[in-house]
C-alpha cells in the first residue's frame, strides 16, 4: 500500500544521503522524495512517498527513526491528511493548440505562468492523482516538458509534526 511518510531532521550536509542510502540499502521503494528547510532553518522536513506491506512500512519508520539526525517520523496515512504536489508543464501552444491548452489549464485550475508564441507553461497543484489526470487528459503530443516536485503532505487540523 502507498504511504506518505513525513519527517523532521537536522538540516545538515549529508543528512539527505543517509535517508536515500537507507532506502536503497534495504531495498525499500521511493516513489517520490521532497525536502526543504522549515521555518526553523536548523530543521529540514522531508516527505517520502513509498509503498510496501504493513511490516515493511513499520520497518521503514523504525529504520528512519534510528538515523541519528532524524528527529521525528510520522506516517501521514495513520490519520487524516492533505497531500499536494506541484507540476510545471510546458505544452505546445501554436495556432492549433492555443485555445484548447488554455481551456484545459482552466479546467484543472492551472495557471499559465509563461507564454511564448509556440508554448505555454502551466503551473498545476493538486494531489498526485490530479496531476496524473491532467497529463492523461491533454494530447500526449502536446507535452513538451514536465517537472514535478514530488508530493508533500501535512496532517489535518490538530495533527502536527513539530518538535
Amino acid at each position: 500500500m502507498r504511504h506518505i511518510i513525513s519527517l523532521l531532521m537536522e538540516n545538515e550536509a549529508g543528512a539527505l544521503s543517509r535517508v536515500s542510502g537507507l532506502f536503497s540499502a534495504r531495498g525499500y521503494n521511493i516513489e517520490s522524495l521532497s525536502v526543504a528547510p522549515t521555518e526553523d532553518p536548523s530543521l529540514s522536513r522531508m516527505t517520502i512517498v513509498t509503498s510496501g506491506s504493513d511490516d515493511v512500512i513499520e520497518q521503514i519508520i523504525k529504520q528512519l527513526n534510528k538515523l541519528i539526525e532524524v528527529i521525528k517520523v510520522i506516517d501521514l496515512n495513520d490519520g487524516e491528511h492533505i497531500e499536494r504536489e506541484m507540476m510545471l508543464v510546458k505544452v505546445k501552444a501554436g495556432e492549433a493548440e492555443r485555445e484548447e491548452a488554455k481551456r484545459m489549464a482552466d479546467i484543472f485550475r492551472g495557471r499559465i505562468i509563461d507564454v511564448s508564441d509556440q508554448s505555454y507553461t502551466i503551473e498545476l497543484t493538486g494531489t498526485v492523482a490530479k496531476l496524473d489526470a491532467f497529463l492523461a487528459a491533454i494530447d500526449r503530443s502536446w507535452i513538451l516538458e514536465t517537472v514535478r516536485t514530488g508530493a508533500s503532505g501535512i496532517g489535518r487540523g490538530a495533527r502536527m509534526l513539530r518538535i
Binding site: M9, E10, A13, G14, S17, R18, G21, A25, D55, E58, Q59, K62, Q63, N65, K66, I68, E69, V70, I71, I163
Partner: protein
C-alpha cells in the same frame, strides 16, 4: 590558549580516558601522529594493516566494555578500515574510528589519497562526521564517543581533513552532550513488562534465548539470576555465548545453524519464548515460516526497536536496555506470589533431557587423526576455561563455539554478524593489549589466519603472547562442507594448496612455531605453549580433513530439520 586541531584530537582522547589507539600513519594524519610523539598518556599500537588496527580496537572493546579507538589515514587507509568497521557495526561494538582526509580545499578534486570516506562508510557505521572547522573537533569527538557507547552501540567515524588538524582553536571539551534527535531508551515500558511477566508465569514450556545484547548491556548477572530463579532452560546465540554460564545444567548450548539438538528443538517446541538482546537472524532461526509452524508466544527485549518484529512477529515487545529490563522483571518476580506450573516445567525438562541425551556433539574420540573438536576441548582443559578466545570464521569458529564452555561474558570474541575471516589474530592482539597477563587464544584455520597474518609482526613489536591454535585441515573447511552437502562433492577452489610452513613462518616473525600431527601430542603441545607465558606460539594442528560441523540446519530449512552425526 589555542591548540592545533591535532593537539585537540589528542586532548579529546585523553579526556575520554583512552589508553590505547590502534592505527597506521599516513600523509593526512601526520600532524596527529606528531602529537602522539609529544605525549605518553595515550599509547599508540602500530599494526601492519588498517584492517588489523580496526579489528584490534574491536577486540579491545569486546573484552573490556571500553570504546575501541582506531586511527587511519585518508584514501586506502580508510578503505582498508572498512571491513573492520563493518565487522564492528554488525556486532554493535562501540568504537571510534578517526580517519584523516585530504585538506579541505582539495576535497572533491580527486586529490592524492582522496576518497569519500563518509560516503563509503555511511552504511556500516552508527554515525559518521566530516569535521570542517577546527572549532568543531572537540564537540564532534564528544558526540562520537557518546553515540558509540550509548543506546545500541556501534562504530562512529570521524573524518578530519589535514588542514583542520593544523588550524588552531581554543580547546574546551564539553562536559556532556545532548542531541535532540537522539534519545535512546533505557527503561522498559512497565505495562509491557507486566504483560511479559504474565506470559512467563503462565508458561508450560518456556525457553530463554539470549544474544549479544546481554554482553553489551553487561546483564549476564541479571540473566543468570532470572534463569535460575525460574528454572527455565537457556540457550545463547553465537554472539551471546558467555551471557549464561555454559557449564550450568540449565544451559542447552548454542542454538542455530550449528546449534545443539536440544537448543534447537526446545526453541521450536517451546510455548513461551523469551528473547533477550537477540535478533532472530537467519543463522539462528533458519526458515521463518517453518519457525512459525509451531505456535508460541514471543517476548522480545531489545534496545533497538528496529530489531523487533523485523524477521518474526512478536507478541510482547519490550524496548529497553536489557539490564534495566531484567532488573525490573526480577524485582517484580521476587515480589510476585504467582508461581510457574512446576509439574509442567518438570515434564518440559524431561523432554529436554531426552533431546540432550541424543549427544549431538559426539565425535570419534578414537580417531588416529587429530579431531578439531578435541583440540578445542583440550584447550578448554589446559586453560581451565579461563582464556579469552578469539576466532576467525568457518568450521573452527563453530567448533570453538560448541566445545569451549564460556562461563563468563566477554571471553568469546568473534565476528558473528559479518563473518570476517582475518578477524581472529588482530582481535586477539587487542584483547591482549587490554588484558596483559591474561590467557588469550586465537582459534583459527589455515585459510583465515592468512588473511591478516602480517599482524604477527605487531605481536612481536608489542610482546603480545597470543596463542594461535590453527586447525589446519588444508581446506576452506566450511566451504568444503557446503560443497560436500549441497554441491555434489565438487570442491571448487576450497583446497588450500601451497600452504606455507607455519612453523618457519612463525619463527621468521620471531615467534615460536609448533606443528602437531598426532592426537596424543595435542595436550602436551597446548600445555607447553601456555607455559611460555611471554611468547607468542603458533600451533599448527594438522587435523582430519573430512570432519564436518554437526548438527547442521541447512539453509532455508527449519530449526528442527537438523542434519545430525
Amino acid at each position: 590558549m589555542e591548540l592545533t586541531g591535532a593537539e585537540i584530537v589528542l586532548r579529546c582522547l585523553q579526556e575520554e580516558g583512552v589508553e590505547h589507539v590502534f592505527g597506521y600513519p599516513g600523509g593526512a594524519v601526520l600532524f596527529i601522529y606528531d602529537e602522539f610523539f609529544k605525549q605518553d598518556k595515550v599509547k599508540h599500537i602500530l599494526t601492519r594493516h588498517e584492517q588489523g588496527a580496526v579489528h584490534a580496537a574491536d577486540g579491545y572493546s569486546r573484552s573490556t566494555r571500553k570504546v575501541g579507538v582506531a586511527l587511519v589515514t585518508s584514501g586506502p587507509g580508510a578503505t582498508n578500515a572498512v571491513t573492520g568497521i563493518a565487522t564492528a557495526y554488525m556486532d554493535s561494538i562501540p568504537m571510534v574510528i578517526i580517519s584523516g582526509q585530504v585538506p579541505t580545499p582539495a576535497i572533491g578534486l580527486d586529490a592524492f589519497q582522496e576518497v569519500d570516506t563518509v560516503g563509503i562508510t555511511r552504511p556500516c557505521v552508527k554515525h559518521n562526521f566530516l569535521v570542517k572547522d577546527v572549532k568543531d573537533i572537540a564537540s564532534t569527538m564528544k558526540k562520537a564517543f557518546y553515540l558509540a557507547s550509548s543506546g545500541r552501540p556501534g562504530p562512529v567515524l570521524v573524518d578530519i581533513p589535514k588542514d583542520i588538524t593544523q588550524h588552531k582553536a581554543e580547546f574546551v571539551y564539553p562536559e556532556s552532550v545532548s542531541l535532540r534527535s537522539y534519545n535512546p531508551v533505557t527503561k522498559g515500558h512497565p505495562g509491557q513488562i507486566r504483560r511479559a511477566l504474565q506470559l512467563i508465569l503462565e508458561a508450560k514450556r518456556p525457553m530463554v534465548y539470549t544474544g549479544g545484547g546481554v554482553t553489551l548491556s553487561n546483564a549476564a548477572g541479571e540473566l543468570s539470576e532470572f534463569v535460575r530463579m525460574m528454572n527455565f532452560p537457556c540457550t545463547n546465540t553465537l554472539m551471546g555465548l558467555g551471557g549464561y554460564p555454559a557449564t550450568d545444567r540449565q544451559f542447552l548450548g548454542m542454538l542455530g545453524m550449528h546449534g545443539t539438538y536440544e537448543a534447537n528443538m526446545a526453541m521450536q517446541e517451546c510455548d513461551v519464548l523469551i528473547a533477550v538482546g537477540a535478533r532472530f537472524d537467519d543463522r539462528v532461526i533458519g526458515n521463518p515460516e517453518h519457525f512459525f509452524n509451531a505456535a508460541r508466544k514471543i517476548i522480545h527485549i531489545d534496545i533497538d526497536p528496529s530489531s523487533i518484529s523485523k524477521r518474526v512477529r512478536v507478541d510482547v515487545p519490550i524496548v529497553g536496555n536489557v539490564q534495566d529490563v531484567l532488573q525490573e522483571m526480577l524485582k517484580a518476580l521476587s515480589s510476585s506470589r504467582e508461581r510457574v506450573d512446576a509439574a509442567a516445567l518438570e515434564s518440559w525438562w524431561k523432554q529436554i533431557e531426552e533431546w540432550r541425551s541424543r549427544d549431538c556433539l559426539k565425535y570419534d574420540r578414537q580417531s588416529k587423526l587429530i579431531k578439531p573438536q578435541m583440540v578445542v576441548e583440550k584447550l578448554y582443559e589446559v586453560t581451565g576455561g579461563d582464556a579469552f578466545v578469539t576466532s576467525d570464521v568457518g568450521q573452527h569458529q563453530m567448533w570453538a563455539a560448541q566445545f569451549y564452555k564460556f562461563d563468563k561474558p566477554r571471553r568469546w570474541i568473534n565476528s558473528g554478524g559479518l563473518g570476517t575471516m582475518g578477524f581472529g589474530l588482530p582481535a586477539a592482539m587487542g584483547v591482549q593489549v587490554a588484558n596483559p597477563g591474561a590467557k588469550v587464544a586465537c582459534i583459527t584455520g589455515e585459510g583465515s589466519i592468512q588473511m591478516c597474518i602480517q599482524e604477527l609482526s605487531t605481536c612481536k613489536q608489542y610482546h603480545l603472547p597470543v596463542k594461535i591454535i590453527a586447525l589446519n585441515n588444508r581446506y576452506l573447511g566450511m566451504v568444503r562442507q557446503w560443497q560436500e552437502f549441497f554441491h555434489g562433492n565438487r570442491y571448487s577452489e576450497s583446497y588450500m594448496d601451497a600452504l606455507p610452513d607455519f612453523v618457519k613462518l612463525a619463527e621468521a616473525y620471531g615467534h615460536i612455531g609448533m606443528r602437531i600431527e598426532k592426537p596424543e601430542d595435542v595436550e602436551g603441545a597446548l600445555k607447553e605453549a601456555f607455559a611460555l607465558k611471554d611468547r607468542l606460539v603458533f600451533m599448527d594442528f594438522v587435523t582430519d580433513q573430512a570432519e564436518n560441523v554437526f548438527p547442521m540446519v541447512p539453509g532455508g530449512k527449519g530449526l528442527s530439520e537438523m542434519i545430525l552425526v
